[in-house]
Symmetry: C2
Subunit: 699 residues, 2 copies
């Protein structure tokens, strides 16, 4: 019975990938538009591929080095021999899903612009399909990787000795847990590198183009305009995809490990894996709900997107009930309520994010209002809104934690309570296929707008792509909230799994906050997200500075550029941003990976536990604050541009532009990178647990 159900996981994986291929092919069959449109799209495509190629090259060096470190550790019996290989596949599939998502996104921008020349709804369909390819690829590849490893280890441990004297299923989940580190590392580089690239190009293009030269956004004369469009793809598509791939895989493996610890055996693994498969089917069904009449307005379109997400969530909510009942029995039906609380929490955090960042509501309006007294008050009110906006998501996550722990039965059996918390993360992420689709659709719409502008399409097309883009801003903010919330829950599951791993190695953690190493770990952990943000923001500043210099040089040296007689050297800007991003992502990445190892070696495993919890709580709050502040500034600027407080060109508008520029690294570089920081540190701690136990100075 149980075995049969687990087979649904690879089936779901194949289903997701097949449907993604079907959608991709149908996009590729669509009208590419005029030659000019094709040409621009190709430039963006080439730039994006060049970026990814260079990134993957640099990252592969990292992967090879870490692979050999892990291999050496495995040969010294710190790790099971499969971990180094699992590390590679985790990284590979994460990178692959980023690559596929970005490829289809860069194929879709001109097709979206072309479709938008017919109607808003046609444009939406193309952009959304592109997002769906990304979403389904992420869940498909994630589930595939998990299934292959599960069945391989299951077979292997059936005919070989099981390490550490545990039983088979514990050995399987313990090994699979480590495999998340590959996905985490890849996600880090994708998020941080992509985040630096996208904002360096954006800020650099704006500072010289819009402010100094006075040409509009997306003007083809701006040498950094292609780099700006490339940035949307490498940051918001590939980066976001890798981030959520990691959460998805991480939450499932952590839940499995905790399920085994709770004594649920194979059933503890079956539930999260099959839930993910159910989510795939639900997501595919959900995509069919995303449609509306041809001449729909923005509100209707948003409702259409929502309908897709709600339909998927509803399907998961119903099927999960029977799944839990069949697998874990009526006595463990509490687990179902844990799933449900995660699912509902994800939706609520999204809605809350929308309230704080949409210009339809009071908070963002108050920032626009502050623009009348200049940039300083825009900044102060923006930060105040962002800080305020942390309260409700935190309370939602807290309620989800308590509900999932106690409803799962944590009062009687502590480990099953932890399993409940972990599975609420799986519940939240089960509909990732479609939530990611609504999110990854945004950059495509953004690029479509750029394409329409540069290819000089009719003004109503640009107006439609602007409407799609604005809708994309809303869904992007929602998606960010969702990504942060799921990262926090996943991190908690991973921290609990870290403790399990320590127990497997025959030690235990004194996790009391009164234990000084834990307390010190908490302090250090709370500080790390701030340090990490500082590093990434400075990186954006330096990289943007290089773009500024280059754009100024081209404006000065290329004669005939301003008269549109000669084309600027787009590729040069892409190159510079790429090189800068690669260089700048080293320091923050090193911090994220080395911090738990250093703390562990110096102050011991208890301090690492404190570090992880401290970083998770502080990183969660800071990430929400930065993402929402940035989103609210962006939309406050758009609100003024719509004609309020003097509209475009007014002093109020200039004040909001300052806010928006500050918000760029907040919402697109530093804030989202924190998701990875907190998950990756847990992963590193898990993988290096036995090494630290044996080599720490502080025993």
């Amino acid at each position: 019975m149980t075995f049969d159900l687990l087979l649904l996981a690879p089936v779901g994986a194949i289903l997701a990938l097949s449907f993604a291929i079907y959608l991709a092919l149908s996009i590729l069959r669509m009208d590419e538009g005029t030659d000019k449109m094709k040409e621009i799209a190709q430039a963006v495509r080439i730039g994006s591929q060049a970026y990814l190629k260079r990134q993957y090259l640099g990252v592969s060096i990292f992967f090879v080095v870490v692979f050999f470190i892990l291999l050496a550790m495995a040969l010294k019996n710190y790790l099971v021999i499969f971990v180094p290989f699992a590390f590679l596949t985790g990284g590979f599939f994460s990178g692959l899903s980023g690559f596929i998502g970005m490829s289809i996104a860069t194929q879709s921008s001109n097709r979206t612009a072309q479709a938008a020349s017919k109607s808003l709804n046609s444009g939406l369909r193309v952009a959304f399909s592109s997002g769906a390819v990304m979403g389904l690829t992420v869940v498909g590849l994630g589930l595939l990787d998990l299934s292959v490893w599960y069945y391989f280890l299951n077979w292997y441990y059936s005919c070989h000795a099981i390490p550490l004297g545990t039983d088979k299923i514990a050995a399987i989940t313990s090994t699979m847990l480590c495999f998340g580190m590959g996905a985490s590392s890849m996600a880090l580089f994708a998020r941080v590198g992509g985040g630096i690239f996208t904002k360096a190009a954006d800020v650099g293009a704006d500072l010289v183009g819009k402010i100094e030269a006075g040409i509009p956004e997306d003007d083809p004369r701006n040498p950094a305009v292609i780099a700006d469009n490339v940035g949307d793809n490498v940051g918001d598509v590939a980066g976001m995809g890798a981030d959520l791939y990691e959460s998805y895989v991480g939450s499932i493996v952590a839940t499995s490990a905790l399920g085994v610890a709770a004594g649920l055996g194979v059933a503890g693994v079956t539930v999260p894996m099959v839930m993910a498969a159910v989510g795939v089917v639900a997501s595919i069904i959900g995509t069919f709900f995303v449609k509306s009449k041809e001449q729909a307005d923005q509100k209707v379109l948003l409702a259409a997107l929502r309908k897709g997400v709600f339909a998927s969530s509803f399907i998961v909510a119903v099927v999960a009930f029977f799944l839990v009942k069949a697998t874990l029995g009526v006595e463990n039906l509490g687990i179902y309520w844990a799933v449900l609380s995660g699912l509902v929490a994800g939706v609520l955090i999204g809605l809350c994010t929308e309230y704080y960042t949409s210009s339809g509501f009071k908070p963002t309006r108050s920032i626009a209002d502050a623009s009348l007294t200049g940039p300083a008050t825009v900044i102060i009110s923006g930060i105040a809104v962002g800080m305020m906006s942390t309260a409700i998501p935190i309370i939602i996550v807290c309620v989800a934690i308590l509900l999932s722990f106690y409803l799962a039965g944590g009062a009687a059996n502590f480990n099953i309570g932890l399993y409940g918390i972990a599975i609420s993360a799986v519940g939240m992420l089960s509909t990732l296929g479609i939530t990611l689709a609504t999110d990854a659709y945004g950059p495509v719409a953004d690029n479509a707008g750029g394409n329409a502008e540069m290819s000089k399409m009719a003004p109503e097309v640009r107006k439609r792509t602007d409407a799609l883009d604005a809708l994309g801003n809303t869904t992007a903010a929602t998606g960010k909230g969702f990504a942060i919330g799921s990262a926090a829950l996943t991190a908690l599951a991973l921290i609990a799994a870290y403790r399990e791993q320590i127990i497997i190695f025959g030690k235990d953690i004194n996790a009391s906050m009164m234990n000084p190493p834990v307390l010190v770990g908490l302090f250090l952990g709370a500080m790390l997200p701030f340090l990490f943000c500082s590093l990434t923001m400075r990186a954006v500043g330096r990289a943007a500075g290089k773009i500024v210099v280059e754009v100024r040089r081209q404006f000065k040296e290329i004669i005939g550029l301003m008269e549109l007689k000669v084309k600027p050297d787009y590729a040069r800007c892409v190159d510079i941003a790429t090189a800068a991003a690669q260089k700048e992502m080293i320091a923050p990445s090193f911090l994220a990976i080395s911090a738990p190892i250093i703390v562990g070696l110096l102050i011991g495993i208890d301090a690492v536990a404190g570090l992880l919890v401290g970083a998770t709580i502080s990183g969660f709050v800071l990430a929400v604050m930065m993402a929402n502040t940035g989103g609210a500034w962006d939309n406050a600027k758009k609100f003024v541009e719509e004609g309020h407080y003097g509209g475009k060109g007014s002093a109020a508008h200039k004040a909001t532009v300052v806010g928006d520029t500050v918000g760029d690294p907040f919402k697109d570089t530093s804030g989202p990178s924190l998701n990875i920081l907190i998950k990756l540190m847990s992963m590193v701690s898990i993988v290096f647990a036995s090494f630290i136990i044996k080599n720490t100075l502080f025993k």
Copy 2:
């Protein structure tokens, strides 16, 4: 032997107060300057008194209400009957030290300006003496209050039944612990109300005066100029004094309680009390080191101030050794190292703050550098610097925690380790008399500059007061770092004392981070400082808006104002800022006081422990970040004003003015208020512990 030593505490108190009176009298004998100077000083004095009067009136309502709540709780046996009265005296003495410090500060500004017309050094002497009055009043009144309660309770419990079946000394310390809540509450109102007042007046005066009307800072035509000067006194003098009064008293009572828990008996109380007395003497001696040649430059003056602090620290470091040896015996000499690590940590945090906020070093220079690309990059680089600056202070505090715990002997005896952490806070605060003097000197110098400007003294006088003011900015930043660091250590001591209190009531806390209520508490606690900052920043915005409206009205309606024929209505602006501050401080105060009670009643005492730790770690990091960001912005602006990057009036200067304006509520309202938030929440938890234990929904 022990009894004899403890008598040093009241002796120290009387010594401190006597020397403060002596200094105050010598200030009052000094030359008040011209009639114009007297007149301006009087306006500031009247405004400050009016503010404090109104604040104390409002606060006294709060105190009466809480007194009766506590009385009701005492009558229902939730509390010892002395707690409500101790609550009153704690608040009264805290308020009194704020009042005295502010009175002498407002007497000193014109005298400082007058003295500065002779030499820089003369000006420094007056301003520093005024600060010393404040510093010694705070420690004197604090130590007096502690001594009186100690001896009273000691006598009372000698002839009456001891509650809860504990021994006498435990009953004394448990009662005295609660007394900190009065000081905390008063500090909250002083910091938050004063912080809102000072920045509302400052921002309001600048927005209309400097930017709209184009008149210089401190121009007598600006109707808000007196309010601005009043603000320095009520925020930076009275607010800072109340904050540190609370840390001082809080760290001593928490240490005493933990000493009893560690089985040290009366000796555990003697050490912190007598250490404080030693610190008084050391501080008084230290003030004599603060002098230099008549025509000294700024560097020499800073060295002179430092010499005073270092001399005091050295004396405490030496005497504490013999004190610990005599009181606790050679076997507990580790406690001495705990004291020393706190003392050194305080000095190091100060130096680190200076590095990050002084324009002599790279971080602040980098912000000035960013001014060339406009306000947005000034903001981004400032926040990046502020975030970066959190790392070292956190590491310093972590090292101090580990050292003081383990050197005190925490590995063998957990409770003595906690005592070590607590006494490191006492060590850090022992030299408060002089560190507060170097800090409270700043606002006096600032006001002296305002006085010189408004009374049209010779330009070199203004130049000298500007130099004093700049020096004051450095010491203010150092002082803020010190205030935050000591608040964090004090909060930790209070949290440990909270657990002790729970144990006395026959329960215990499961402080494991894996315990879901603790985890939820940590999340909520990490979020609260953000919410609190949001509330206080918005409060400043709203209050400043009211000032803006009033200043604009006066400029428009008062004919002859701009031609200096008619004086503006200064008092009106003071009134408006006062009323606004009183109104706006209600919401954040309510949050700070109610949060631990609500969390306790809903999720239990474990969650409260998580809440306190979460708020302490996140509040500490955020407070450092906000204080340093604001300080660095301020000094980056001053650096540009000195003639760099185009100097005053350039685009770069305007960009740094935006940074400075954003930094105002960061460094003077929200950041410093966080110190109180974390201490007050612990205090409230201690006082309401038994009430929550009996009435929580979550048992």
